[in-house]
Symmetry: C2
Subunit: 228 residues, 2 copies
């Protein structure tokens, strides 16, 4: 039986890579990578290309579809070099929050889904590790699904799937290993470099996740990391 | 008193021009024009530039922020030259429907609104003249507003405003004239030309609107039009 198409928002990080591995269990992967002017775009694109190659993905939409208006609009240290990426997050929303990013990315995915007749869109959002980003919460995705039903053709049935929304990052790493997801090809660091810095908020979350899972991360870091 | 900022999605057509005139009554206009690869993009951009000049708009976001992924994705005769723009619409959704376009455009507007602290986003959508486009219905905008509340910072209060949603196009033309909106600068035709064709679906709707309003359209047409 032919597998149904599913679109995966694949940034190139651990979360989206594991989400792709989950979707891959029962669907034909169609991978969407979006360069929205983020500082790490070239490194993320490399990860995207390597991960899609690993999964042997035929249906890709990437690279050239830049939505660099998010960079023009600014308001986030992920797209504005003049704002410093914080090494520690406070309780408030950190300046790595890209205003309404997920709503933008999902809108692109829905447009594509409606054209290629994919019924599901997988996104690797996680409430716990989302630093308080409002567009990573379950209530947001529920409202988004409602909006999709009302904003697409009556015959279109598309839903957003968030399989790791309530997992911890350590659990996500474990699931990834179980499903043989190519975690060694992923990129999490907020720096656009070949070797992860090991000190930014995103590196810290990643390292802690592997430590909590009792595992060793196979990517290299600029600083020595203690693995259990 | 300083007027509150409002973002206007300004395509360059009659509907968005009149919507801008309505918003201009009580707000400081911030105009957003989006080139999403539509065939008429250069002509629409010209209309956008002339209309924002007319309203003396300082805060503009336009032209360079191309979201041409909608063109890449295809599925609409407005972005794909190989699909013929229909001269008559049937009861079904015509192929000028750009999948989920409004959701994409509004997502950009919300990102911008959150950064510049605009509380309202005006869009000139109309249920009646929308040829059955699902993303032009009131229920869609209600769901979108719900989704915005859940997907932005807790302190952010942004709402989509649709002042002409339930108007007929003839009423919109009348409102435009009353508010002295620059209808002579607008562009509606589906062709990317200097003179409107007068036969496409969009020209027909426009001409009929002026005729129903008992008025003469001041833009030139390639074919002779009977005005009352």
């Amino acid at each position: 039986m032919r597998r149904q198409k599913a679109i995966i928002l694949l940034s190139g990080g651990i979360d989206s890579c594991v989400t792709a591995a989950i979707a891959n269990e029962n669907h034909q992967l169609c991978c969407l990578h979006i360069n929205y002017g983020q500082i790490t775009s070239t490194r993320e694109e490399k990860a995207f290309n390597e991960i899609t190659k690993f999964f042997n993905v035929k249906n890709k939409l990437s690279a050239n579809l830049r939505i660099d208006y998010l960079k023009k609009i600014g308001g986030s240290s992920l797209t504005n070099k003049n704002l410093k990426v914080p090494e520690n997050s406070q309780n408030s929303i950190p300046n790595t929050y890209v205003p309404f990013r997920n709503a933008n990315l999902l809108a692109i995915a829905v447009s594509w889904a409606e054209v290629i007749d994919a019924k599901k869109i997988f996104i690797g959002a996680m409430e716990e590790d989302s630093s308080g980003y409002p567009d990573c919460r379950e209530s947001f995705f529920k409202a988004y699904n409602q909006m999709i039903q009302l904003g697409t053709k009556f015959t279109t049935k598309i839903s957003i799937e968030t399989p790791i929304l309530h997992k911890s990052k350590a659990e996500v790493v474990k699931i990834g290993l179980k499903l043989k997801a190519p975690l060694h090809l992923t990129w999490s660091c907020y720096q656009n470099s070949e070797i992860a810095c090991g000190v930014c908020e995103s590196c810290k979350l990643r390292i802690k996740a592997f430590q909590n899972a009792g595992l060793k991360d196979s990517i290299p870091y600029k600083i020595p990391i203690k693995w259990k």
